[in-house]
């Protein structure tokens, strides 16, 4: 989806704040992968049918992972919303403008 | 009679014409062609009247007038300025510099005499 228009490309190197924003976007995109890894981890814990599975412990683990993911997302989201407004992130978009009547 | 006039004019023929006319009217006429010497000559000869061309080699007529008006002895010395430049701008500049009478070339001989007389109070 990142498809810069020829001649409209931004600068090759960015100042520090924009650079940070780009990396935050990267982090947000990788967050589901990271979360997926954590969520799928219980698959490897104990062989199916074995007696050792502790449901309470598994449940606590999953809820903790869940809370951490929500916390990370909440931490990332405000700056991403700003980045979106600057049009500097996810695919060079114009700032969102709800007053605009795009037809 | 016997009023003394210093004529500063670089065109020899014009100088000759004025000299001729004023001398005939009874003036004592001194002629000078170089503007650079004008102020010194005035303080040396102490004329009753100065007739000055605007465009002179050495120093322009306006500069000479300004210097005369700035010096203590010649502040109120009557100065008649002649010029072949007929623009109103030049007239204004000359009058502002302290010229008493401004006459455009070519002139009538009678005018020169009449103005000269009037300026020295004859």
């Amino acid at each position: 989806m990142r498809r810069p228009v020829r001649g409209q490309r931004g600068p090759l190197f960015l100042p520090r704040p924009e650079y940070r924003k780009r990396r935050l976007v990267d982090a947000a995109r990788l967050l589901p992968v990271f979360g997926g890894f954590l969520v799928f981890l219980p698959i490897l814990w104990s062989p199916a049918g074995a007696q050792g599975r502790d449901t309470a412990r598994d449940g606590i683990y999953l809820f903790v992972v869940w809370a951490v993911l929500v916390g990370l997302a909440a931490w990332l989201a405000p700056s991403l919303a700003d980045a979106a407004d600057d049009g500097a992130d996810l695919g060079k978009d114009a700032p969102a403008d709800d007053q605009k009547d795009d037809i | 009679m016997g009023q003394h006039v210093l004529l500063i004019e670089d065109e020899p023929n014009i100088a000759e014409a004025i000299r001729f006319v004023l001398a005939r009217d009874g003036w004592q006429v001194s002629v000078l062609a170089d503007g650079a010497l004008a102020v010194a000559e005035v303080s040396r000869l102490r004329p009753d009247l100065v007739i000055l061309d605007l465009m002179l080699p050495g120093k322009s007529g306006l500069e000479i007038v300004a210097q005369l008006r700035a010096a203590p002895g010649t502040q109120s010395l009557p100065v008649m300025m002649l010029t072949a430049k007929g623009l109103a701008r030049d007239r204004d500049a000359a009058l502002a510099a302290g010229v008493s009478v401004f006459i455009t070339k070519p002139f009538a001989n009678a005018d020169i005499v009449a103005q000269a007389r009037a300026m020295v109070g004859l």
Binding site: A28, R53 | F20, A84
Partner: protein
């Protein structure tokens, strides 16, 4: 609790929601929607993901399969925390193209294909039917729970009758608020707000039950953990395939469910809300899931064996004698079910009316597009569709016997709508996705899902006979519904999801790769994929002027009502026209189509406009032309840049030239004053002496001298006028050259003689080289001598040293001769060097005053006429002029 009281509570609650919706609608009608569009309302409206399936079914799911129920909520969590930019793209597209439903999105993306719209609609309706049945079932069950505990003389309510009443009530509510306005963007502020309220109710209810269970029935979290481990839930096995598969399925469904699409995209006024929802929605899911396991564990522990685990949320508080808590839980479940049904019905009815009813109507009565009252028909179609959708749900409820576990029904739905995923993601990220590919993928996915999952859900011997189950369709063993292509021993759910998604995706990709998209498809594809790029609205290739504006207005009024008039008036004003009828420019027709699409869907709007504008609006060639145009624009802008650089260079040069011109102009003014002076000076002498002569009394000698002066001055006047005339002749190039062969040394000699003849008062030394000067030139000797005279005279006039010396240097080179005149005076300043050859130039130093300033200008003109040049030679230690002249000037020399 008395059943009637329960019904009363329900009615009160519904009336309350009704009031909320009504008040909000009124506010919205007055344009005060600011807080309605807050991220909070948006996030809460997303909670319709949590239906009665969550509220009741999750507990049952946990009781049966342990922690596996979490997969349903972990999938959306993963999507929302990091990949909401996918959703953001959907929202942007939805706003830009006024998408009314997920079917409209697919249809619009693939060239406004109504076929795809119909396919998605059918798929959505079929997939949603069990889901709606599930809501009816849960509400009916919950009524049943309360009723079974009321042996107070009230007859047990008839389950089916209850379900019917619930269905009818929901249909009415939905019709009342979902089809009130045929708004351009299909937003329902009232309903969305009511949904948000319900979201709070269900969260509070579930949390209250959870808190009661953990701290009331059990003894805090630690005790709870022990009970969980001890309960039979702890015996669940994590099946890796299902774990992974259902998380994927839930992640897909959260985007593809028609009701989710409705609240995510269609009802969203601001894509920035997604940033908040990215963590707030997962948090909501987290809280909803938190107490599911404890409730399930204690339900299993305390309630008699055989009681329905799906109803633990209600039955636990009831069994503990907490009637109030149970009522709250009941309202929570009621909220979950109603909110889902309302939104789902709105979404589905929009799809049905836009993609099935309207196209059929227009096909059979095409004249209606321009003459009928479409507004009423669209609304009627929606209302009937809502009723129809609920009727279908009720039918499924009756047919399935209302006995299946809630979770299983929900997963069937999920797998069904997930079939839209490849076409949707492919559509917004891959420009190569085509209509054929999308149709093939959807079709195959739908058929596979129906055959392996949906139809078998009616049970062996239900729709599919037991024989087909065991032997496969037509006796082909590879076509067994739950062991397709011989894949045996796979979990039936996983099996169905696996095969339907794989076949769907493969068909979609192959179909797209092998077919060539039509122009409309390519247009829409580019517009969707590049939605974030500025100026992506793409070409608007409606042919110009083919539609009658009035016909367009009439048609638009049929759908938009009075808003159409406003739209036309605004456009007319923008076009600078009086009245209500703008030109049917391609831009306006395109804009109109989008507005109509917001009400009746892209395909129908396109068809209607086509009827008036006529024919296919664009060909592949047109598209290529448009693309070429934009490429040319890019190239053009590149060239513009180059031109701009050149322009600024030129501007610099112009500024320089202008400065020079200003200088020349000042000089010209000075010259006029000068020429006046030069003319008046001889005149003064002539007048003065002629006056003296006229007196007639002078002696003869005096008369003779004075007449001599008059004569001299007259000659001076004549010479001045001659110079002026000469210059003008030379400048016009009309000069007659008198060509001949002449020796250069002789010409210089002549010049010295002539110059010396009129100003002899200052002698000066001259250095010459006779050998160099012995050159014969074919030129106009008189004119060249005139130049030499001028230069020599200038030295005489202006050389400001006591002992003037003039050096004349002659060189020959390449058929030209240069003659340098160098004297030992003060060299000219740089500023003066540039202007001395200009006509009327006169250096400002009064000491150098003298001539009229025509000499050098004449020289320059003469040299130009002689095919040569004259220039100032800097760096010679004094004023130096170089004359360049050709050895042999042809007959047609110079400018002649």
């Amino acid at each position: 609790m008395p059943f009637n009281l329960l019904v009363l509570v329900c009615f009160t609650y519904v009336f309350f929601l009704f009031l909320v919706a009504y008040l909000v609608e009124r506010r919205a009608a007055r344009g005060r929607v600011a807080w309605l569009r807050s991220p909070l309302v948006y996030t809460l409206s997303l909670s319709i993901y949590c239906t009665a399936w969550t509220f009741y079914g999750a507990v049952g799911y946990a009781a049966r399969s342990g922690l596996e129920f979490l997969t349903i909520y972990l999938g959306p969590t993963l999507v929302f925390i990091g990949w909401w930019w996918v959703l953001r793209k959907l929202v942007r597209i939805g706003r830009q193209h006024r998408v009314t439903s997920i079917g409209d999105l697919i249809s619009s993306r693939y060239g406004k294909s109504n076929l795809l719209g119909v396919m998605v609609t059918v798929l959505a309706v079929v997939a949603a039917t069990p889901y709606i049945a599930l809501q009816l079932q849960s509400v009916t069950l919950s009524f049943g729970v309360f009723a079974s505990d009321t042996p107070e003389g009230w007859a047990l309510p008839d389950r089916n009758a209850t379900a019917i009443w619930v269905a009818v009530g929901l249909a009415l509510f939905t019709v009342l608020f979902g089809t009130r306005n045929l708004d351009a963007k299909e937003q329902h502020h009232g309903i969305v707000t009511a949904i948000a309220v319900e979201a709070v109710v269900k969260l509070v209810a579930l949390l209250a039950v959870g808190v009661f269970v953990v701290w009331g029935l059990a003894d805090g979290p630690a005790d709870m953990a022990g009970r969980i481990t001890a309960s039979k839930i702890a015996a669940w096995n994590l099946q890796p395939g299902r774990w992974f598969g259902i998380i994927f399925l839930a992640a897909a469904a959260v985007i593809c469910l028609p009701r989710m699409f409705q609240v995510l995209v269609v009802e969203d006024g601001d894509e920035r809300h997604l940033a908040r929802a990215s963590w707030a929605f997962p948090l909501y899911l987290f809280l909803m899931s938190l107490f599911i396991v404890p409730i399930a564990v204690l339900g299993l522990e305390r309630l008699p064996a055989g009681s329905n685990p799906d109803m633990f949320v209600l039955t636990l508080p009831l069994a503990a004698g907490q009637g109030g808590l149970a009522l709250l839980a009941f309202l929570g479940g009621f909220s979950s079910a109603t909110s889902m049904v309302i939104i789902e019905a709105i979404a589905l009815s929009t799809m049905v009316s836009n993609h099935i009813v309207m196209p059929l109507w227009l096909r059979f009565r095409p004249q209606m597009a321009v003459s009928g009252d479409l507004r009423r028909i669209v609304l009627l179609a929606r209302r009937l569709s809502i009723a129809g959708v609920l009727a279908l749900g009720y039918g499924y409820f009756r047919l399935s016997g209302g006995s299946t576990a809630l979770a299983a029904i929900g997963l069937i739905s999920f797998a069904g709508v997930a079939q839209v995923l490849p076409a949707m993601l492919g559509g917004i990220f891959w420009r190569g996705a085509t209509r054929v590919g999308a149709a093939a993928g959807l079709g195959i996915g739908f058929v596979t899902w129906a055959y392996t999952m949906f139809l078998p859900s009616f049970g062996s011997g239900g729709v599919i006979s037991a024989q087909v189950f065991s032997d496969g369709l037509f006796g082909i063993i590879w076509l067994r519904p739950q062991a397709l292509f011989g894949v045996d021993g796979m979990d039936p759910l996983l099996h169905a999801v696996f095969w339907s998604m794989v076949l769907n995706t493969v068909a979609f990709i192959l179909g797209s790769l092998l077919t060539f998209p039509g122009p409309e498809e390519r247009l829409q594809g580019a517009a969707f994929v590049n939605v974030f790029e500025a100026g992506n609205t793409g070409p608007r290739p409606w042919a110009r002027g083919q539609a009658e504006p009035e016909a367009l207005l009439v048609m638009s009024q049929r759908i938009l009502g009075d808003a159409a008039l406003g739209l036309f008036a605004t456009e007319a004003k923008a076009q600078g026209k009086e009245g209500y009828l703008p030109d049917a420019s391609p831009e306006f027709v395109d804009q109109l189509e989008r507005r109509l699409a917001g009400s009746v869907g892209a395909a129908t709007a396109h068809a209607m406009i086509s009827q008036l504008v006529g024919g296919d609006r664009v060909s592949v060639e047109d598209l290529m032309a448009v693309a070429n145009e934009s490429a040319q624009i890019m190239e053009y802008s590149g060239r513009l840049e180059a031109q701009q650089i050149e322009l600024s260079r030129t501007a610099g040069a112009l500024r320089e030239a202008n400065a020079k011109l200003m200088q020349v102009s000042v000089q010209k003014d000075a010259f006029l004053s000068q020429i006046s002076h030069e003319l008046r000076t001889p005149m003064t002498s002539i007048r003065a002496f002629s006056e003296l002569l006229m007196e007639g009394d002078a002696p003869v000698q005096v008369v003779s001298a004075q007449a001599g002066i008059i004569h001299t001055e007259a000659i001076r006047l004549t010479r001045l006028l001659d110079d002026l005339l000469d210059l003008s002749v030379l400048e016009n190039g009309s000069v007659q050259l008198d060509l001949g062969v002449c020796n250069l040394a002789a010409m210089i000699d002549r010049a010295f003689v002539a110059a010396g003849s009129f100003t002899a008062e200052r002698g000066f030394l001259v250095a010459r080289n006779a050998a160099d000067e012995d050159v014969f030139l074919h030129t106009d000797a008189d004119r060249l001598v005139q130049v030499f005279i001028n230069l020599i005279t200038n030295v005489r006039k202006y050389c400001d040293v006591a002992q003037p010396r003039l050096r004349i240097v002659v060189r020959q080179k390449a058929g030209r001769v240069t003659i340098d005149f160098i004297d030992n005076g003060t060299a000219l300043p740089k500023a003066a060097q540039g202007v001395i050859f200009e006509k009327f130039a006169r250096l400002t130093d009064p000491a150098r005053a003298g001539g009229a300033g025509l000499g050098l200008a004449i020289c320059r003109e003469v040299m130009a006429n002689l095919g040569g040049s004259i220039g100032y030679l800097p760096g010679q230690g004094g004023p130096a002029f170089r004359v360049t002249v050709p050895l042999h000037l042809g007959q047609i020399g110079g400018r002649g």
